[in-house]
Symmetry: C2
Subunit: 346 residues, 2 copies
């Protein structure tokens, strides 16, 4: 099989990790787990030349410096600078135009954590094999809890190395999420996909012909500047943005999935991040990054960019100090951090 081209999408604002994640330094570019940023880890995960070509990164102009600064020198990366944020379907289509139509693209968000890299690689190779045969392949993430914050996909008929997708399910309520977990055939839709470039563009042309036409024009009128590719502003900015899920995956007859049980987390909020950092916890379950003094505490996470944080006599509290903002929340409260005033008026 030909090597796979990683397509790394750097969108999203990450407001639920405020005040650490800010517009100027959003979630993908922060060293949230270990010493690497999530973006660096995403690049590294798909960098073995035995399986992968140089990556294509798609991002807005605000993050070009961060991306180029965090990319290993000489990795051959191409960077598509989106003239406007139009969700994932147009972003993937831009990348698909920059490679031969037989190329298999592995589309990866840049802000997820994957603990088991071997399982990721195995799933990527299975997905690529199906994609090469013309399937549009989603990673079906093995669910570990009745999560109501994700979309689900249901396994259908078996294929070699995977399954057809029976159906896509919007974010469920808790009762349905519990039922899905018990039923066993539902997986989380983690936003990781494998497509043959030509197949993707054909399907987009069929289901979103206006979008497909606008992307093609933006590419034809675009400009290459060294490793950067700048699609033309006018046609791209007219696009009605849409996700790859709605625009292609839920429309096509060739939707497939592979199982991926790989310690995945979208690090969607501070509680998710605490779970991913479990190996940093002391015996009382406390995790501290930066100067902290914890007395009579259990399951407390502190992250501070300088000021000392002293915590006394609390369980299940998350304290984040960053850039002169102080956030205090809990495992349950973490999901609502994006609703604060701080994230919206930074």
């Amino acid at each position: 099989m030909n090597p796979i081209t990683p397509v790394i999408l750097c969108g999203g604002s990450g407001t639920r990790l405020w005040p650490r994640s800010r517009k100027a330094a959003p979630k993908p570019f922060l060293p949230l787990v270990g010493d690497s940023s999530l973006f660096e880890a995403t690049l590294a995960r798909a960098s073995d030349p035995a399986h992968f070509t140089a990556p294509i990164v798609v991002a807005g102009s605000a993050h070009v410096d961060l991306i180029e600064g965090q990319s290993p020198a000489g990795n051959g990366m191409r960077l598509i600078v989106e003239p406007a944020a139009k969700n994932t379907a147009p972003a993937i289509a831009l990348a698909a135009h920059l490679v031969p139509e037989d190329t298999v693209m592995l589309v990866c968000p840049s802000d997820h954590h994957i603990a088991d890299e071997a399982a990721f690689l195995a799933a990527a190779l299975e997905a690529a094999r199906l994609a090469a045969e013309g399937w549009l392949v989603a990673f079906g993430i093995a669910p570990t809890r009745p999560e109501t914050g994700y979309g689900y996909i249901k396994r259908g008929e078996a294929l070699p190395g995977g399954y057809r997708i029976d159906r896509f399910v919007e974010k469920p309520d808790l009762a349905r999420a519990v039922a899905y977990l018990a039923e066993g055939n539902y997986c989380w839709n983690g936003g990781i996909f494998a497509f043959r470039a030509g197949t993707f563009l054909d399907e987009l042309a069929q289901h979103r012909p206006e979008m497909a036409r606008a992307v093609r024009e933006a590419v034809e009128q675009g400009e290459t500047q060294g490793a950067r590719f700048l699609p033309a502003f006018a046609p791209f900015s007219e696009i009605a943005g849409d996700s790859v899920d709605y625009a292609v995956m839920e429309e096509t007859d060739r939707a497939a999935m592979v199982d991926a049980d790989m310690g995945w987390s979208d690090i969607g909020n501070w509680q998710s991040l605490r779970e991913v950092r479990a190996d940093e916890a002391d015996e009382a379950g406390n995790i501290a990054r930066g100067p902290a003094d914890l007395l009579d505490c259990r399951d407390v996470m502190v992250e501070t960019d300088g000021p000392r944080v002293s915590v006394v006599g609390l369980d299940d509290v998350i304290v984040v100090v960053d850039g002169g903002e102080v956030l205090v929340t809990s495992s349950r409260g973490a999901a609502n951090v994006g609703k604060l005033k701080g994230p919206s008026n930074q």
Copy 2:
């Protein structure tokens, strides 16, 4: 009856209100309740010329500027600058030497809150009446909970307007504190006393003759500088410090008490302060001083000197941001704030 001389003691470090209370700006001088500092409120509470003379304040040299800055101009205050901190018995003895022996002194800590000023005045007048007759009179604070952090005094035989003190009790364990509350004859020892100056010095000479002699020498060799009086360093610094409770009240045969049910709090920690501030709470029980954004919170208190504090989904949490330090605790944890590293290495 002659007017009473207030004697305001400004000792104590207030480490349990760290990081708001610091060595350089300790608890008595902070506007913790309402807009006045506790020291200002203490002065004001005993300022009616119908009942009180000008006050005598006893403090260390570190706080002279704060005291003079917070005292109303022309109030006639005398300020005794202690050469060393020797606990309350020597401090009161210094003041007793500066007034005629028939003067009744009302000794008040400078860092307590008293909600009911009329009840305070009534108790002060009763206490002064007993003191004028030669009793050494403590305020018996009506207990409102089985507090284990205070000493107790037990009512004895009735006197006109008060009682003899049957006995003093050290800080009890919880079972004993519960029993005291049920029994009904135990009061908190709030550290407020009324003494005739001559009586106090006589009792001190009897029970702590060395201390009494050293204080007398420090006064005789002391120096008056305007409104300030500076006791001599050498004799005062040799004193073995002791509290008025141990040195005099537990030794004398003339210990008396008056009932004082006056909304008293020593504001001993952040939880006590939250209780005193109950009238600042919104309908969810939240109290905020400084920029705060509280979402899905109950009984949260925030105090910040500038940085915004955002709290999501928590009950019973206290967050204090001051001078680049961040403290997070709870009603139970508040009592242990003094054990943190911050208060001891400021």
